[in-house]
Symmetry: C2
Subunit: 237 residues, 2 copies
């Protein structure tokens, strides 16, 4: 297992780096200095320096010029932050009148300040939810997540029907727009038309008929409707 090091508390910066590296390495390949710098709004040299320190602490594996990956310890920290972030978002929306487009910023600061205990109290108050308001899965207390593989709206065939499950963005403007056109998790939509060359997609869904751009469509992740409209919990056919 991992060296359960003397665990001096991690700084806010370290937590943020690990969280971003987690996101960027979701698809298996190492994260680049440049991308990390972009997401954290820092200069590349700052990132380079931090990666060295993170590697010394055993939180990442860094091959200079080749990119960085999380170690098991690093992934644990990152998943802990992801859990915190998503539970905080869920709580603020459920109990304190926040909307799905304005919770991110608040959660971004709170996730570094709350205790494990408070997170578990919030989770309990929410009934241990498995997804946050954006449809992102919440790692459970022992940090396991089921990363379900959904299909972007751009890949649903014309004429097909699908249920929106997850919106892959934190940007308030995009989220407000998606809510306005009715593309929120749980909504069922039908693809009426899709133009070529990254062209617009026409859907019928919660808020009637809508035309949305290709880029945004790529962020909306869906579960395609089953042939027979029943039992997505049924394993036995």
């Amino acid at each position: 297992m991992s060296a359960a090091l003397a665990q001096e508390p991690l700084t806010r910066s370290v937590e943020d780096y690990l969280k971003v590296i987690y996101r960027l390495t979701q698809r298996g390949q190492p994260a680049s200095t440049r991308d990390i710098a972009g997401w954290l709004q820092l200069s590349a040299p700052s990132v380079s320096g931090m990666l060295r320190r993170l590697a010394e602490q055993g939180l990442v594996e860094h091959s200079p010029y080749r990119g960085v990956q999380l170690t098991d310890d690093g992934r644990r920290v990152a998943l802990r932050m992801v859990r915190r972030h998503r539970i905080i978002e869920s709580y603020l929306v459920a109990f304190l009148g926040y909307t799905w487009d304005d919770v991110h910023e608040e959660a971004e600061r709170l996730e570094h300040a709350v205790s494990d205990r408070l997170i578990e109290r919030m989770a309990a108050a929410l009934g241990h939810p498995r997804f946050d308001p954006h449809g992102d899965p919440i790692p459970d207390e022992d940090l396991s997540v089921d990363e379900l593989s959904y299909v972007p709206l751009t890949d649903i065939p014309v004429g097909g029907t699908a249920e929106v499950r997850q919106v892959g963005t934190d940007q308030p403007e995009r989220l407000r727009y998606l809510a306005a056109v009715g593309l929120t998790p749980g909504t069922t939509v039908t693809i009426l038309d899709r133009q070529p060359f990254q062209g617009p997609i026409t859907v019928r869904g919660g808020a009637g008929e809508q035309v949305i751009g290709h880029e945004l469509g790529g962020m909306v992740l869906c579960a395609p409707a089953e042939r027979q409209e029943e039992g997505r919990n049924d394993d036995a056919v």
Copy 2:
């Protein structure tokens, strides 16, 4: 008025210093380097250095070797932190199952991370409380507080009756003990006996007859019972 400076965000350290200085200067006299260092668990030279920086920023007035006082700007920051702290404590107790002895630590971290907006949402959810679970007054949104002058239990005459209003400590052990012996805000107690030379005090109150030490007694602040049991809102006699 005060120079509404470009307001670059204050650091956590600065907020903590100002809050401690606020507490230490409540009774009018300047705070000493040594006392600040004691409360913040820092060395005296660290505090000396920080006081110089705070003075440069116009948050305190520092007369070297003589102590430090808050400026209006500094007091505003401190009161804002006090409001945040006490609302967070109230919220955690009311909605998330915290007890009065374990909220302090959590609030101590959260107060630096929450937005003004979240604080106001919590305050609204609580019905804009005027006192926190320890009986400490919560500054209102424009930061005015009524610092009521209560009387310590040690000053109530033997045979006298008083209502506990405020417990002047954050220490979990003391708070748990006070709760166990029934000395919580709102409880009415009668002083049965007080021994000389900082001796123990015998009270009858919420949890029956109790003997408590002089030091603890000094922390329990009370409103002495009126001669006639009525109308403490009446101005006209």
